[in-house]
């Protein structure tokens, strides 16, 4: 039997807007995925450590407070430093178009803004996650 896709959903930095991340977490659960939800106020270090210990296939980062560039780029930096391979990183929240381009350059595969459907995130993960 093929195992379910395992995803970490986390909010980095000082940002308490949890609803969107929780909705995505529940949506992925309903699509048959195993979702580790670590909630608000995670440091990039905690996120990467959790991703390693949980051996997830993907990390979903949420930010609505404007801290995305600092927080997300640090996550990408740490993943590189810790030599974590084969983990897909995607993001969501309030992120300006210019920053979306920058984040994609850093290796964040997709950014889901307001109005994105759960179905589109599910499809994205099913298409892009390689089950090891």
């Amino acid at each position: 039997m093929k195992r379910p896709i395992k995803v970490l959903i986390a909010k980095a930095g000082l940002d308490g807007h949890e609803r969107g991340a929780l909705v995505v977490a529940m949506g992925l659960r309903d699509a048959g995925m195993e979702v580790v939800y670590t909630g608000i106020r995670n440091t990039p270090e905690q996120i990467v450590a959790a991703a390693v210990q949980e051996d997830v296939d993907a990390i979903g980062l949420s930010s609505l407070s404007g801290g995305h560039m600092a927080q997300f780029s640090r996550v990408m930096e740490l993943l590189k430093k810790e030599k974590v391979k084969g983990v897909l990183v995607f993001a969501g929240g309030i992120i300006p178009d210019d920053d979306v381009k920058k984040l994609k350059k850093l290796g964040i595969k997709e950014v889901f803004g307001p109005g994105s459907s759960i179905a589109s995130i599910v499809e994205f993960l099913r298409k892009n996650v390689r089950l090891k």
Partner: protein, 299 residues
């Protein structure tokens, strides 16, 4: 830890998928103390473990945690939300936390729990904490895996009849009433006394508050005292024999189940099942006929 972090985490994933722990690792197990934390959903098991980790780390002990949440019977997915309560320990190299979904296993654990406990044990963690799913009255499998079982409840969960019922309450070596802050300030400190006898175990009731941290030190002392009792009384050896037996039985059962399901796919078996549905054959006669084939296919 004797294994590199990433190598270890990949091993845990393979065990979760049903692979066997390498024999040379199993040979190294038996040193860790295994503590089961169980109880109904929402009583604060994960938050209490977060506090226990603090206490154990202060004592210099390394801690492995297996935190289990249920798989959805509808979608097959799961929301694993235990880690969130302990996330501040993520960066501590003396702590390893892995969230697991039940993947339709009943009994409070997962198919792979015992194997992953062995892996943490073999890797050198001093304490392995197994947090079950939120349990009802009848999910008691953790008693077949852990040396010490703490059943966590909270105030106002029921009267003395509830306490007298069989099942969950009977497997408690330690009874914890968490959220004692709801009973008023200082309640956790006033109510809890650690046990000190080692020949005969009298189950203590410990009041804790994961919110304030009250009572957590006493709970830790109770866990230590129970371990001392297990060693002094010889009960530890008996429990571990029982655990080994239970694990082998579970593995045999899952192999038999796989074999049964394979047999049922055959056309002849399908015919038998259809006949049962049509009331031409009763279920017991069907089992009689099928079991001969299943036992044959197991040889």
């Amino acid at each position: 830890m004797t294994m590199q972090g990433k190598e270890f985490t990949k091993l845990v994933t393979r065990l979760e998928g049903g692979e066997a722990l390498p024999s040379e690792l199993y040979a190294r197990t038996g040193k860790a103390r295994i503590v089961g934390i169980t109880g109904p959903p929402g009583v604060g098991k994960s938050s209490l473990i977060d506090r226990l980790i603090d206490e154990l780390r202060k004592q210099g002990k390394t801690v492995g945690v297996i935190a289990i949440d249920p798989t959805s019977p509808i979608s097959g997915g799961a929301l694993l939300g235990d880690r969130l309560r302990m996330q501040r320990h993520s960066e501590d190299e003396g702590v390893f936390i892995r969230s697991l979904a039940t993947r339709h296993h009943h009994g409070g654990l997962t198919d792979s729990t015992a194997q992953i406990v062995h892996a943490l044990d073999a890797t050198g963690f001093d304490i392995v904490i197994v947090e079950t799913v939120g349990t009802g009255q009848d999910e008691v499998e953790v008693a077949e895996v852990a040396d010490t079982v703490a059943v966590v409840l909270m105030p106002e969960l029921g009267d003395e009849i509830q306490r007298a019922k069989s099942g969950l309450m009977e497997i408690a070596d330690i009874l914890v009433i968490n959220k004692a802050d709801l009973l008023g300030e200082g309640k956790a400190r006033q109510e809890s006394r650690p046990p000190n006898k080692s020949e005969k175990w009298e189950r203590p009731t410990i009041h804790t508050s994961a919110k304030t941290g009250d009572g957590v030190t006493i709970l830790c002392e109770a866990v230590d005292a129970h371990h001392a009792y297990l060693v002094a009384s010889g009960e530890l050896v008996r429990r571990r024999e029982r655990a080994a037996r239970a694990e082998v039985i579970r593995l045999l059962q899952s192999r038999m189940t796989a074999s049964i399901l394979r047999t049922l796919e055959a056309p002849r078996a399908q015919t038998i099942l259809t006949e049962v549905a049509q009331r031409k054959l009763d279920p017991f006669d069907a089992v009689q006929r099928l079991s001969e084939e299943i036992l044959g296919s197991n040889k």
